[in-house]
């Protein structure tokens, strides 16, 4: 009998709640029992409420002869001996057994295109990636003219997944049309929004998907050099990317002669250094050049004058990771998911005070309520959900009365909110919304690059004004002043940091005004 295959995630989140210890315990127990097994350290499937989730590839006994993965979770070190005793290597019954992973309702109802392989494959293995449909998109692209690749992306309706939702194909077309020797492909992997972790999960769980997407972009616009700008807070993703890139070079998917096509594409990871503003594209380019991450004035657009002054594509991890499936399955296939002008799927991230948090990839059009209650199961504390912040620290707070809104760029804009990078942070009814509004201003003050006044000074004044309101100093007048200040920052800031910090503040004022009453003692300074 061949050795059984056991999957234990090496995803940072899974490790943070004990997956590493579980993997070690399984290896130890198997050697103590003289059982040979193959331990694969996969990414996470994204159901963090079931992590550490251990899967076993059960040898071909299923009805149709296919191998099947049986899930057990959440597993602790203390459970390992009993799993062996229950013969989990053959899918044996155990209180933690969840049945076939794909049949778990939380996964079965998802539409995973971008995350099709995350949690399934060995992230370090090119062979495994290819065995699961990887590099089909690149092979297609190599047989196409650059214009045709760009047209495919344009036709798919893909919009930038970083938050701004700009049509990806248009950006690529602009870069393609520039007649210069050197162009660059840059990936914004500075996933700084609280409540978001899809970039991290993909880079740890299926890094080659990002590598493939960027390589296709290089072919599409005639760029030979790519950079992944990764935040320093993601050491696990850093290791996973470097391993995958080295493997891709080894297998000739990167380098001077991509798959014998005579075309070059080189790729390297550059680390950020803990500056939220570097998620803004021009600030990111400054940082890639080794400078302070100060926002550039546009125009010129990065597509015309970007990294080192050359035409540059800047896309988010999720955007690039959506490209392989578009090239492989066709623009039509991708476009058939979604609604209105929001085409395809979006990996949503359910975070904060939620019972069943994790990554849910669905076509646009799913409602917030479905995500919060059907997937999420309500708050972790069991208390009523009072507010939800969608789209990171610059996203609006949405009250319970608006939970029927659907996930779609335009639908969220219509209620004064934004989708951003698809992060959903849940708060129960103990949340103090004035404190959250103050935090938004404080965060902006800490993270402002300092280049424009509304952001640099406005955020500090914002904290002070909120403190006066809560301290009972001319509350009504200061509330008016706060509204005016928000308007100034919104209209006058150079980039989204100062320009969007008002969203959480204004939404808190609008939907949760009762929290802005004067109180004693006044709020304490956070971090």
């Amino acid at each position: 009998m061949s050795a059984a295959t056991v999957y234990v995630p090496r995803d940072a989140s899974a490790l943070s709640i004990g997956a590493g210890e579980v993997a070690t315990a399984i290896a130890k127990e198997s050697s103590a029992r003289g059982i040979e097994l193959k331990l694969v350290r996969n990414g996470s499937r994204g159901a963090f409420w079931l992590e550490p989730l251990v899967e076993v590839l059960v040898p071909a006994q299923a009805k149709n002869g296919d191998q099947q993965r049986i899930a057990y979770g959440p597993v602790t070190v203390a459970d390992v001996a009993s799993l062996f005793a229950a013969d989990f290597l053959n899918g044996g019954a155990h209180p933690l057994c969840l049945g076939p992973t794909d049949a778990i309702a939380w996964f079965a109802s998802q539409q995973r295109l971008t995350f099709a392989r995350v949690g399934i494959v060995d992230p370090a293995s090119v062979a495994d990636y290819v065995a699961h449909g990887g590099y089909q998109g690149l092979r297609r692209a190599l047989s196409m003219a650059p214009e045709a690749i760009v047209q495919s992306v344009l036709d798919s309706g893909l919009r930038g997944r970083g938050g701004a939702a700009f049509p990806t194909g248009i950006k690529w077309k602009t870069v393609l049309e520039q007649k210069t020797q050197q162009k660059y492909i840059t990936c914004n992997a500075d996933e700084g929004d609280s409540g978001t972790f899809s970039d991290r999960m993909l880079m740890e769980g299926d890094p080659l998907c990002l590598v493939e997407g960027m390589t296709i972009a290089g072919l599409a616009v005639g760029a030979t050099q790519g950079y992944i700008y990764l935040r320093a807070e993601y050491p696990h993703a850093h290791r996973a990317l470097n391993t995958a890139i080295a493997a891709a070079y080894q297998a000739r998917y990167l380098g001077a002669d991509v798959l014998g096509s005579g075309k070059r594409f080189d790729l390297e990871v550059r680390l950020g250094a803990g500056a939220y503003v570097c998620g803004e594209e021009t600030s990111m380019l400054e940082s890639l050049e080794g400078k302070r991450g100060e926002v550039r004035v546009r125009p010129p657009l990065p597509a015309i004058k970007g990294l080192f002054g050359q035409p540059t594509i800047v896309n988010n991890v999720m955007t690039f990771a959506s490209v392989p499936v578009i090239l492989h399955q066709g623009a039509e296939f991708y476009k058939n998911f979604g609604m209105g002008r929001s085409r395809g799927t979006l990996p949503l991230q359910l975070a904060g005070n939620i019972k069943r948090g994790g990554l849910i990839e669905r076509a646009f059009g799913v409602s917030l309520r479905e995500l919060l209650y059907d997937y999420g199961g309500g708050s972790a504390t069991g208390r009523p959900i009072r507010a939800v912040q969608v789209g990171g620290p610059l996203g609006a707070y949405i009250p319970a009365s608006q939970f029927d809104v659907v996930i779609d760029y335009e639908a969220l804009t219509a209620i004064g909110a934004l989708l951003g990078h698809g992060g959903i942070v849940v708060f129960d009814d103990t949340v103090d919304m004035a404190r959250m509004a103050r935090y938004a201003m404080e965060f902006c003050a800490v993270e402002s690059c300092g280049k424009c006044t509304p952001c640099r000074i406005g955020s500090t004044r914002g904290v002070e004004v909120i403190d006066r309101i809560l301290g009972g100093v001319e509350s009504e007048r200061n509330l008016q002043l706060l509204e005016n200040l928000c308007e100034t920052m919104l209209q006058g800031s150079l980039c989204g940091l100062g320009g969007m910090t008002p969203f959480p503040v204004q939404s808190a004022l609008k939907h949760f005004r009762e929290d802005f009453r004067a109180r004693t003692p006044p709020l304490k300074q956070a971090g």
Binding site: G192, E233, G290
Partner: protein
């Protein structure tokens, strides 16, 4: 800065200066080697990279990740962002400050722990989160925090503890 440290800085910058836009990469390497970016390293880097001291200093101080003082033997970074706040990060931060007897950006007197705030570790479905010396922890409670600190305290100071 010790002579050995300035040699390290010189060696790193010589190795890397041919790369495009190298300053941040160089600073990462210096901090990885020395634990921090000594202020005395600034003129060396400026000279080798043909930048002004102001430019180098400007970059070092712009980014939260770079530190200009030596860190404690263990660096404890607590997430301060919204998802973690929704699960009690503020209370955990107060507890941590009390347990270690320091505020954020400070190092304990015995040099064992530095306490730093961090804005999102990408562990938002397992809040509240912290990172200790590059290891990520999720669903932290004050009790679990104390255990993690105690483990490191005893390792650092030997059998006396």
């Amino acid at each position: 800065m010790l002579p050995a440290e300035s040699d390290t800085v010189r060696r790193i910058v010589e190795d890397m200066k041919g790369r495009p836009g190298p300053l941040i990469e160089v600073l990462h390497s210096v901090q990885a080697a020395l634990g921090y970016v000594p202020p005395d390293a600034v003129p060396i880097l400026a000279d080798a990279l043909n930048l002004s001291r102001a430019e180098v200093h400007g970059v070092v101080t712009f980014y939260h990740f770079f530190r200009e003082t030596p860190p404690g033997r263990h660096t404890v970074s607590l997430c301060r962002a919204e998802a973690c706040q929704s699960m009690g990060a503020d209370e955990l931060a107060e507890h941590a400050k009390g347990r270690l007897g320091v505020d954020f950006h400070e190092t304990t007197k015995d040099g064992t722990f530095s306490l730093e705030p961090v804005f999102c570790l990408g562990n938002c479905a397992c809040s509240p989160a912290a990172m200790i010396d590059g290891r990520l922890f999720g669903r932290l409670t004050p009790e679990r925090f104390d255990d993690l600190i105690a483990e490191r305290q005893s390792k650092t100071s030997g059998p006396k503890q």
